[in-house]
Amino acid sequence: GARPGQGGAGGGGPGRLTVGLCPQEEEFRWLLHDEVHAVLRQLQDILKEASLRFTLPCSGTGTEGPAKQENFILGSCSTDQVKGVLTLQGDALSQADVNLKIPRNNQLLHFAFREDKQWKLQQIQDARNHVSQAIYLLANRDESYQFRTGAEVLKLMDAVMLQLTRARNRLTTPATLTLPEIAASGLTRMFAPALPSDLLVNVYINLNKLCLTVYQLHALQPNSTKNFRPAGGAVLHSPGAMFEWGSQRLEVSHVHKVECVIPWLNDALVFFTVSLQLCQQLKDKISVFSSYWSYRPF
């Protein structure tokens, strides 16, 4: 941003004399009146760009039609046993086709979503909502708003950063679920024909990737000598994890994980990081003058 002219402190309150202020104070006024708004505008632009990625209609611009559909082919470099084609419509999975090759008997299993159902990806919805909260916080502080103290800016930045951090964390930290939780989840009931009882499916976002895990299960014999120890919560369970479902004791025999990068999630994450850095830089700038703003509120 450009420095103000001599005594210019543009946007200064009416009737406020800027003459006779020490340079530091003058610079602080410029920071509060001009620079802060410049940064806020920049932040808003970035976040609006980010929220567009979530195909969220921006506040005030009215509604758009139904979100466009995107197909993602999920695979893994290590295995070709599982292939998945998932269709994402905004924050919801509208279609899913999963192919599972079982080498043991060369059987090929195929199952798909029911036509009438969608599966909300809570992580995307939450991240989107957090971004729009952040935008809302910023929208209330447009150019016409005059910041009086540095503390005010810090508080606003803290609030915005809180939302952005949460948005980012929602994408970077998938829920850790226990196997019974996965089994009970509505996702297993989404398929038609119904999933075989020895399969579990989980879908989540990890960073910029859409991930699909398929667990193959086998029942533990009641008289099994194996020490039964139910597994705790995890993002990805490993073979050998055990759990109790209904009256049965089950063990994970195979785990297949396939994933696919969602380009716009990548963008969004970059936008979050950039915005967070912008916020922090603004906070740092304000803090330089902390000896001024804490004692002399404008």
Partner: protein
């Protein structure tokens, strides 16, 4: 037992910041409750004339408060629930400021609605919550546990706002919500109670897309039962509740954001904005407006309530009647609310709270009308108030006000060194003041204390040129470091190592890294060439490691982009691990000063967490820079939470050392000064903390006496010893010195457990003592622990006790009495009311604000009374007085003790008073359930079983013991039973601890003074007392003999141990331990004495008490 510390706040001239984020008025219109960004709640008194005055500040949340709501039927229980940014929820009793319940859930709520349906619901009702999660959570209002959720079948999303619709017409309660995407959803409430309780899924009954975003309020018109008002940030809409057809949309002006609204009456609404304006509209019907003529010929006037509802469509338009506004503060964000009370003594109030901490009220007339010319009328502000107004109106002082030369200097950081009773304050002008905390407090609080002003010992360290931002007293953390060292960091990133005794600068470190935000010390197990190092966090996010012995900077880690949140040490690899606010971790090699690794995301989290969990044998200390790190961790560790919070960068007030009172607890000594600093400003204040338990422990010469009823010679014991060692006036306190008179006195003066270890203990450094104490405090088991010897200066203890009495005595009840107190207790009168407070061991404080005592309407006119906690205190005190036996209120010794000096007399009285207070305090503080449980078991006459709860019995018995001080054995103290009953009663009536303490203090002191004056009249002790005295002597001799034996026994027993008796031992020994007081006693003694004939009587006693209580 909940234990808590008595606190007195020294606020200073400036009020702590209170940026209001939530506001409500209680149903009785007597209290305004506000929640702040800083995390505190404030209770404001609202007088019947609508005058506001701040009353109490409640500290319980560690993050910004997001919403407030009532949590019970207010007429039955005055409870309010608050929710914070980090998922904390608290239920508060707003009449006494106590926290009733606390929970931390992985949900951030933005709105809460209390729902109770008495005939279908068991329990205390539900809190319906919405926020940053899908759908509506149902939380139990009592336990704060999640009961269930209302789930959506259609497009589940976050919910912005909710309201409960109770329709008289259809006798069904419904829940209306609007999601962030603008979808209106309706759930049946009353008919789904059963399904919810059975955890069945309950889906929405209806939903409708409203086509607007950012819903701020949804309100149902209970007058017409027809209209629905929905306020969005850029428009407000009126719907027909029958079919949700849109009747009217009103769009905001540019730059105007609506924030909420309410229905005032049929067809009359109020809408308010984020910048503090409000508008009252009359909703007019177009058809009705066409005039009477139209009505008569068309007969369409019925169309206000047309049968099919379609006629209403777009027929409503608003007419602005009135508006309200605030001056000046344009642009700041406001939170507003409206309270509609139709009953007579109540008002219709529009209220607002601002970020600046200001509260404004408007009294809305019953029938708002526009001006004659039809233009809107401006409704004037009825009342407005801020915290600072309280501070301006009432005298406030800071702890260093009376330090010579301090003047009006602003304290920017401070630390209290309890071992030296030194308060070290870093100031804005760069000076560091060191003063005696007790004296400074006395000088500020007490009348005539200002005389101390000139003599107040203090030191001024000059070396910084900018304000001192952080202080560290290394010896307080590790006893191995030099006791004279003090570190201070300033705004200009200069860190100075001082010798506080010689006041010289030992070294200056110049870091060139912005203000020093905190100074930390490496843990004991981390050493660099056998020395601990100092870690200095600067505001440019850099971290410097300083080596004090070598006077050099070892490492300056400057690569961090975000503020430092966490510092960890890796002693094996010699790494410094720095956790930043963006969840990244930096690993620095200390020797070479190189950045070894930088990790973000999941890996960083693992690195920062793993040290605690996976290496318990090589513990690595986390020294959280700020308290919220603790809390953040606790949130994140919740298993399988569906919603994980990021770090929370906006904590409110921060206590310098750490936030939690629990962490504050292990201070040594009965007195501590807790500096509190605010986050977004430099305003700070100090809290004086009194540990009554510790104080009594230190003052009591022989706690044994109090435990066993057969030793009821407490008073005469004191008398006797006072006589035998007249020259040693403070004998009771100098029990560490083995130079007292008679054998028995010696035996008494040295509690057994101390005997063997004594020489060592005194030789040991204070830090070790602290360690023991800490350990002791942590254990906090029901059984008592060996009492560690304390090297607390006797004078400090007495001064603390006197200051405590001064602060808690209600002054001005009677002038005569005040003077007697000053004369006979040797305490000074308060200059004015002090800000009393309570610090509980969980993690919350409640502190009275300046002027709190003038809040109560009945006390307003009575300015003579100072510091009276509530009107109730006088009643309680009178009740207590009437129960108090006439002659035996005081230690017998005192009354006969004509020849002993005034000073020891005073001392004994003080000890006695504190003893009583502590007993009362404990009794009142015992949780009700526990007490009830014990009562029940008493009823069964099964004392043996009743022992299991442990604490309660020991409380009662100890109370009994305390009460019996100075009474002869033959007296069966009917009065005591009734006293005990009385106090138990208080507890049941939820009398506050402070109230009880004040009442008892007042009564006891009055009684004492009465006795004194009586004695003065008689000239010599009354004969009856003389008799009793003789009697007592006899028994005394007997007991002395027994005690000698015990003493002998114990000494031989414990000598080889070389340490205080381990508490484990007696646990298994016998069940007699239950009759001990919870506080520390030499256990062996008790053990022996419990076998004395006193025991059975004890039992019958308790049984008696309880049966009494039951009837």
């Amino acid at each position: 037992m909940r234990c808590s510390l008595q606190a007195v706040a020294l606020w200073g001239k400036k009020a702590p910041p209170h940026s209001i984020t939530a506001i409500m008025i209680t149903d009785d219109q007597q209290t305004i409750v506000t929640g702040s960004q800083e995390g505190q709640l404030c209770l404001w008194n609202l007088s019947p004339e609508l005058k506001i005055s701040a009353k109490e500040l409640l500290f319980g949340h560690s993050a910004s408060v997001t919403c407030l709501a009532k949590a019970r039927d207010f007429s039955k229980q005055p409870y309010v629930v608050s929710a914070a940014e980090n998922g904390e929820m608290c239920v508060w009793n707003v009449t006494n400021g106590q926290r009733v319940e606390k929970a931390t859930l992985p949900y951030r709520h933005t709105a809460i609605c209390y729902y109770h349906c008495s005939f279908r619901m068991t329990g205390e009702g539900w809190l319906l919550c919405c926020g940053e999660y899908q759908d509506v959570l149902i939380i139990d209002a009592k336990s704060l546990a999640v009961i269930h959720t209302f789930i959506s079948s259609q497009s589940p999303d976050w919910i912005n706002c909710l309201c409960i619709v109770h329709s008289m017409r259809i006798q069904e309660d419904s829940l209306l919500v609007v999601s962030v995407a603008g979808e209106l959803k309706v759930w049946d409430l009353s008919s789904s109670i059963n399904s919810i309780q059975e955890k069945q899924d309950v889906y929405e009954k209806e939903s409708k897309f409203l086509d607007s975003l950012n819903c701020r309020a949804i309100r149902f018109c209970t007058y017409t039962e027809r209209l629905l008002l929905v306020v969005f940030s850029k428009c407000w809409k009126v719907y027909d509740y029958c079919d949700f057809s849109l009747l009217r949309t009103e769009v905001s002006r540019s730059g105007q954001f609506f924030a909420g609204g309410e229905v005032l009456a049929a067809h009359r609404i109020i809408i308010w904005t984020e910048d503090g304006h409000s508008f009252i509209y009359q909703l007019l019907n177009r058809w009705a407006q066409m005039g009477a003529a139209y009505k008569t010929f068309s007969g369409l006037s019925k169309s206000i309530y047309p049968a099919d509802g379609r006629v209403l469509k777009e027929t409503i338009y608003p007419h602005l009647l009135c508006s309200t506004s605030v001056q000046e503060n344009k642009g700041l964000s406001f939170v507003m609310g409206y309270m509609n009370e139709r009953k007579e003594p109540f008002y219709k109030i529009l209220f607002s709270g601002e970020v600046s901490g200001r509260i404004t009220l408007w009294h809305i007339p019953d029938v708002p009308v526009s001006k004659f010319d039809g233009s809107p009328r401006e409704i004037p502000i009825t009342a407005t108030w801020t915290l600072q107004d309280n501070f301006d109106k009432h005298h406030t002082m800071s702890i260093i006000d009376h330090v010579p030369g301090a003047g009006t200097v602003v304290v920017t950081s401070s630390v209290y060194v309890s071992s030296l009773d030194k308060l070290i304050c870093g100031c804005e002008d760069g000076t560091i003041l060191i003063t005696q905390a007790l004296n400074a407090a006395k000088a500020g609080l007490l009348e005539g204390g200002s005389l101390l002003k000139d003599s107040l010992p203090h030191k001024v360290l000059k070396g910084h040129h900018q304000s001192v931002t952080s202080l560290l007293y290394p010896h307080g953390l590790s006893s191995k470091l030099d006791q004279s060292w003090l570190l201070s960091g300033d705004q200009d990133s200069c860190v100075i190592l001082w010798n506080i005794f010689t006041e010289e600068v030992l070294h200056k470190f110049f870091l060139e890294a912005g203000p020093v935000t905190s100074l930390l010390m490496s843990p004991e197990n981390f050493r660099l060439r056998s020395d601990q190092v100092i870690c200095c966090v600067c505001s440019d996010h850099s971290v410097a490691l300083l080596h004090l012995e070598g006077k050099r900077c070892l490492l300056h880690a400057r690569k961090h982009l975000f503020p430092v949140r966490m510092i960890k040490w890796h002693p094996v690899e010699n790494f410094l691990i720095v956790g930043c606010a963006d969840d990244s971790a930096y690993i620095w090699e200390i020797e070479t000063g190189t950045l070894e690794r930088h990790e973000t995301g999941e890996r960083a989290r693992i690195i920062l967490n793993c040290c605690d969990d996976s290496q318990p044998l090589k513990p690595e200390f986390a020294l959280p820079v700020t308290s919220e790190t603790h809390k953040h961790k606790s949130v994140e560790q919740r298993p399988s939470s569906s919603c994980q919070f990021g770090p929370i960068p906006c904590p409110g007030l921060q206590v310098e050392s750490s936030w939690k009172v629990a962490d504050v607890k292990p201070f040594s000594g009965p007195f501590n000064v807790l500096p509190v600093k605010t986050r977004w400003s430099d305003i700070g204040f100090h809290i004086l903390l009194f540990d009554l338990e510790n104080l009594v422990e230190l003052l009591l010469p022989t706690p044994v006496c109090d435990v066993d009823p057969s030793n009821s010679f407490y008073g005469s014991e004191i008398l006797r010893r006072a006589k035998s060692t007249v020259e040693k006036k403070t004998l009771t306190l100098k029990r560490n010195k083995t130079a007292s008179g008679s054998l028995s006195a010696e035996a008494q003066a040295k509690p057994v457990s101390e005997n063997p270890a004594q020489g060592e203990n005194t030789a040991k450094s204070l830090g070790d003592n602290e360690g023991i104490k800490r350990q002791k405090k942590i254990k906090n088991s029901k059984k008592m622990h060996p009492k560690p010897s304390r090297k607390v200066d006797a004078n400090i203890t007495i001064d603390t006790a006197k200051l405590f009495l001064s602060c808690f005595l209600p002054w001005g009840v009677d002038k005569e009495f005040d003077n007697l107190c000053i004369k006979h207790l040797d305490i000074l009168k308060l200059q004015g009311s002090v800000s009393l407070g309570l610090a509980s061991n969980e993690d919350h404080f409640s502190l009275m604000l300046p002027g709190w005592d003038l809040c109560n309407a009945e006390m307003k006119k009575d300015y003579s009374k100072v510091n009276l906690f509530s009107k109730k205190v006088l009643d309680l005190s009178n009740k207590y007085m009437s129960t108090l036996p006439n002659q035996v209120g005081m230690p017998r010794g005192l009354e006969n003790n004509c020849d002993s000096s005034q000073e020891s007399n005073t001392l004994n009285t003080i000890v006695y008073l504190l003893n009583r207070l502590f007993a009362v305090y404990k009794l009142v503080n015992t949780p009700l359930e526990l007490a009830c449980g014990t009562d029940r078991s008493f009823k069964m006459e099964s004392v043996h079983k009743a022992r299991i709860p442990g604490n309660e019995i020991s409380n009662i018995s100890s109370f009994y013991g305390y009460l019996r001080n100075g009474k002869s054995e033959s007296h069966i103290p009917e009065a005591d039973i009734s006293l005990l009953k009385l106090i138990s009663c208080w507890r049941d009536q939820s009398v506050q601890v402070t109230e009880a303490i004040q009442a008892v203090l007042l009564a006891e002191v009055q009684q004492h003074m009465k006795n004194l004056s009586k004695r003065a009249g008689n000239g010599q002790p009354v004969s009856m007392t003389e008799d009793v005295h003789c009697e007592m002597r006899q028994i005394l001799q007997e007991t002395e003999w027994t005690r000698e034996e015990i003493e002998l026994h114990c000494t031989t027993d414990t000598l080889p141990l070389q340490t205080p008796v381990s508490p484990v031992k007696h646990d298994s020994d016998s069940n007699s331990a239950k009759f001990q007081d919870t506080e520390d006693m030499p256990d062996r003694c008790v053990l022996e004495e419990s076998e004395s004939p006193g025991k059975p009587r004890h039992h019958s006693w308790i049984a008696k008490v309880c049966s009494c209580k039951l009837c």
